[in-house]
Structures are given as structure tokens and as C-alpha cells.
Symmetry: C2
Subunit: 154 residues, 2 copies
DNA sequence: GCCAGATGCATGTATATACATGCTTCACGC
DNA sequence: GCGTGAAGCATGTATATACATGCATCTGGC
């Protein structure tokens, strides 16, 4: 019989275990660029969405606003991202700097190599199937979150 | 057409996004016990494996040794876990305290409720299928890790 | 106009995670 | 017996993540 690694029964525990293992591989791959995979993902998203407010990124990442704020601060310190004034003066206009664009292009090669290797190992179809299931799980979890937070809790 | 949440194409990014969302639900569920889902998972694993060395837990969790060490320190401070001498005097014999056992029993009810709710939402069969795929991915990632580390890198 | 509540961010604190490094102890060849 | 390298942990540092909270600004009702 196949591997049967000792993945927890817990949905969350299983996800966390696999995520730890996979993150290590991607972080290793990105190391030559001096970026973590999380940072690369954020840069890439900013580039794709264009200059945006933090709130847009938060929605898109399903992450806490404070998590994003700290990540952005690091990228700003490294000169890869700029937080410019926004027409809504509460908000910031978040965009890549020129150096951020260059770093992203450099890092994208590393990411692509890691991604292709990973997808090659598990199989293209397998990854499509898994991503679809992950997407469904995200939808369920996001709906639960929205149900728990807005009314009643505060 | 269905949800089509904006999950990244990146294997790692997709996993991290879903893991964040799911972790929030489980952490919320565990809050009445004063435990995070990670801590519950660790307590549960120690209970199931019996008194063990840290190395056994590290293998089982696919986590770094330092990650585990810090998690154990917190549980020890809370009186839930004990690090007793081991026959191999380099190692520690890690085991639950009596209070740790009680806390685990209390927390297990909360976990079970969250788990049943989550599995109910996505469907039992769906979860089995996803867990199998996650298991396969873990196997691949773990093999890659082993291939990258032991020889060549240091 | 003006104020109450909502919205958008930032900061303080705490845990989760990993890398580099160092200390202790063990196992093994000689 | 005695090094020498390996194994098992702990600590320093850095990022990832989230909760509680606070400040500035905006929006709608009056």
C-alpha cells in the first residue's frame, strides 16, 4: 500500500502539516532572491491588482489586516513597495516601486521553477483537482467566518 | 457558476490561504478552553504517542525542532506538559501532566464540535478525498525535503 | 453644519514557524 | 579508554499570523 503518512484527522491540523512542508520547499526555492514565498506572493498580488488599498489585499488574501500591515512594512523597508496617499485619506495607495518590479521579475523565475517541479511531482491533473477542493473548502470557511463575525460577537 | 474564490495558482500560496481561513475557525472553536488549535493538536499527539522524545514529535509533525521546542515550553509553563529526564540524557521524556490530561479532555469536546461542523459542511466523502490528496502532497514534499537536506547542502 | 457610527490603518502583545548556532551527550572506530 | 563525528535540545533572531485597541477619516441622518 502507498505511503500513509501520519496526517492528523483534524482538517486544520492536516492543512497546517502539509502547509509547513510545502512552505519549506518554496522558501528554499526563493532564497536566492532574498524573499520568502509569502513575500513573493504578496508582491505578485500587488502587481496583478495594480495600486490598491490594503483592504482590497486583505479580502483577497483572507488574512487579518494586521498581518498584511506588517508584511507591507517589511517590503517597504526593503524598498520594494510604496505606501502613497490615497484619495480616501484614511487609506494608502499601495504599489510596487521600480526596484520592486525588478525583484518580482527575478523572483518569478525561481517561483516558476519550484511550482513546475511541485506540480510535476504530484501531476497536473492532481493539482487541478486538489486546488478545486481547496477552493471549495475556502468558500465554506469564509462563509462561516462571515457568519460568526459581523453580528452578535462585539 | 460556483464560487471561484481567488485562490493563488501557487501550490504554497493556495495552501497558506486556506490554512489561514480554516485555522481561524478552529482557533475560535478552541478559545473557551484557552488553547489554540496548534496546542490542542500537540497535546493530543503527545497523549496518543505516549511519553516520547521531542525527535519523535518532530518527525510526526514535519515541523522544525525549534518550533516544537517553543510550543512545548508554553505548554509546560501552563502546567499541561512535563519534560522529564530521558534514559538518553541528551533527550527529554515528554508527557502530559494530570492537568494536561484534564485540559485535553475538555478541549476535545470543542475540537470535535468544530471538526464535525467542518466535515459536515464540506461533506464526509469530500474530506476523505481531500485528505488523501493532502497526504500524497505531504509525501512528495517530505521526499523532496529529504533529498535536499542530508547530503550536499552543508 | 454636526455628530454617531462605520471604515481604514497602525501599534502592542502573543503565538507559530524556521534558520544559524552552540552545548551536551552518545556511539563507534581505533 | 579516547577522540571525532553524530544526535538531541535550547537560544538568538527574524518573519507570519492574529487579537485588542486606538486614532484618523468618512458617511448618513438630523
Amino acid at each position: 500500500m502507498p505511503s500513509a503518512e501520519e496526517l492528523p484527522q483534524c482538517v486544520c491540523g492536516a492543512l497546517r502539516t502539509v502547509t509547513r512542508a510545502v512552505t519549506q520547499l518554496y522558501d528554499d526555492a526563493m532564497r536566492p532572491a532574498g524573499l520568502r514565498i509569502t513575500q513573493y506572493g504578496l508582491l505578485s498580488r500587488i502587481a496583478r491588482l495594480g495600486p490598491v488599498s490594503a483592504a482590497v489585499l486583505v479580502d483577497s488574501l483572507h488574512a487579518d489586516q494586521t498581518t498584511l500591515a506588517r508584511a507591507l512594512k517589511l517590503l517597504e523597508q526593503d524598498g520594494l513597495v510604496r505606501r502613497a496617499p490615497h484619495s480616501d485619506r484614511r487609506a494608502k495607495r499601495i504599489e510596487l516601486t521600480a526596484e520592486g518590479g525588478r525583484k518580482l521579475a527575478e523572483a518569478r523565475k525561481l517561483w516558476l521553477a519550484a511550482q513546475q517541479r511541485m506540480v510535476g511531482l504530484i501531476g497536473e491533473a492532481e493539482w487541478r483537482a486538489m486546488r478545486g477542493r481547496l477552493n471549495g473548502l475556502l468558500g465554506v470557511a469564509a462563509k462561516e467566518s462571515r457568519a460568526a463575525k459581523p453580528r452578535g460577537s462585539p
